[in-house]
């Protein structure tokens, strides 16, 4: 009993923590990428993040079995010059707000795709948030030239 009680308590606490960390506050929509060949050095990831909770959250990292690494980048255009920089602190998602990672702006860079990404397939991607923890999504692979995914109205 003496060993059981702390165990039970710890278990309950862990459960409560897990319930608290449910990713329900963050919803991800419009997760898509563009088709690339098998030897392409990079691919892209675009997403729309919505924070329905009352607390600020932050996308801190991501990973996928389809690429060696995933980096979060911002893209700026200054006086006709394109500048891309890593975002070491990730992407803040303030409470009640929607943040879009899309063409010409903040995006995920899939470094070293491990295979070709063919139009129509789906690529699993795990997002790590500061509060919401892990969120699993699938990127739908659109044609190489896509500026907006076909299901943008969804």
């Amino acid at each position: 009993m003496r060993t059981l009680l702390p165990g039970l308590l710890a278990g309950t606490l862990a459960l409560a923590a897990a319930a608290h960390a449910q990713p329900s506050d963050i919803t991800v929509s419009l997760a898509w990428t563009r088709a690339v060949g098998a030897t392409a050095p990079t691919a892209v990831g675009y997403l729309t993040l919505r924070n329905r909770g009352a607390n600020p959250d932050r996308l801190i990292s991501a990973e996928t079995p389809a690429a060696r690494a995933v980096e979060i980048h911002e893209q700026r255009r200054e006086e006709g010059v394109m500048r891309m920089r890593p975002l070491p602190d990730g992407v803040p998602v303030p409470p009640g707000e929607t943040v879009t990672l899309g063409p010409g702006g903040t995006h995920l860079m899939l470094v070293g795709p491990t295979r070709a990404l063919a139009r129509g397939e789906r690529v699993p991607l795990t997002l790590h948030f500061e509060r919401a923890g892990q969120v699993h999504v699938e990127l739908s692979v659109e044609a190489a030239g896509t500026r907006q995914p076909a299901h943008a109205g969804h």
């Binding site: 690339v36 060949g37 098998a38 892209v44 010059v81 394109m82 190489a144 500026r147």
Partner: protein
């Protein structure tokens, strides 16, 4: 009193007449019959586009002379560029599709400013997802610098904290006529319809 009214009336007629003249003259030279062809977005005398020596993505050594005789679209980028360069290459592919057989009357060039990482093989792998008519060009540090100078392109290697690097580069797509003279640009933010109009103008002016 009457004299004053008359003066004001004639004055108004003069102002109105001047406005009508000015507006119609303005229309004649900007949108009317005296207007320039819509393809050029800068003065045609701009010294953009000059000699270069590079390697295409099939491994062949090429110079600007290999691309004379047809108008050319050219833009500078690099393959470790997941967002902007694929967007531009995708736009190019969409324009090639929209032009249909006419697209064969143009050269479509993508020049890498990343001399260290972008070998012909890397360029070939990167271009696989786009229209096969787009030719990738890369080269040594000195040859890339010379090509960038010829096109008045800005680019810079930017070291990153993780030990790697990225490249800053000018965004424009340049248009050259069949003789290699500057004939305008397509901006990243322009619509597909505007870009298509510029390319058709470039083809009919040949």
């Amino acid at each position: 009193m009457l004299r004053w009214i008359r003066r004001v009336a004639w004055g108004s007629v003069a102002v109105l007449g001047f406005l009508v003249l000015a507006i119609s003259a303005g229309w004649f030279v900007t949108d009317g019959p005296l207007a320039d062809r819509p393809v050029a977005t800068g003065p045609a005398s701009l010294p953009i586009g000059g000699p270069f020596r590079l390697i295409d993505h099939r491994g062949r050594a090429v110079t600007e002379a290999d691309f004379r005789g047809r108008p050319m679209t050219v833009f500078f980028g690099f393959t470790q560029c997941p967002d902007v360069c694929p967007t531009t290459l995708g736009d190019m592919t969409a324009l090639i599709e929209a032009l249909g057989p006419e697209a064969d009357r143009l050269h479509w060039l993508f020049v890498s400013v990343d001399w260290e990482r972008d070998t012909p093989e890397t360029m070939a792998g990167y271009l696989e997802a786009y229209d096969r008519r787009i030719v990738g060009l890369s080269g040594t540090e000195a040859h890339v610098a010379a090509a960038a100078r010829a096109f008045r392109i800005y680019y810079r290697r930017v070291p990153l904290k993780d030990g790697g690097y990225t490249m800053d580069h000018s965004a424009s797509v340049f248009l050259l006529d069949a003789a290699g003279r500057f004939a305008g640009t397509i901006d990243h933010q322009e619509s597909h319809a505007v870009a298509l109009e510029k390319l058709r103008g470039l083809l009919t002016s040949q």
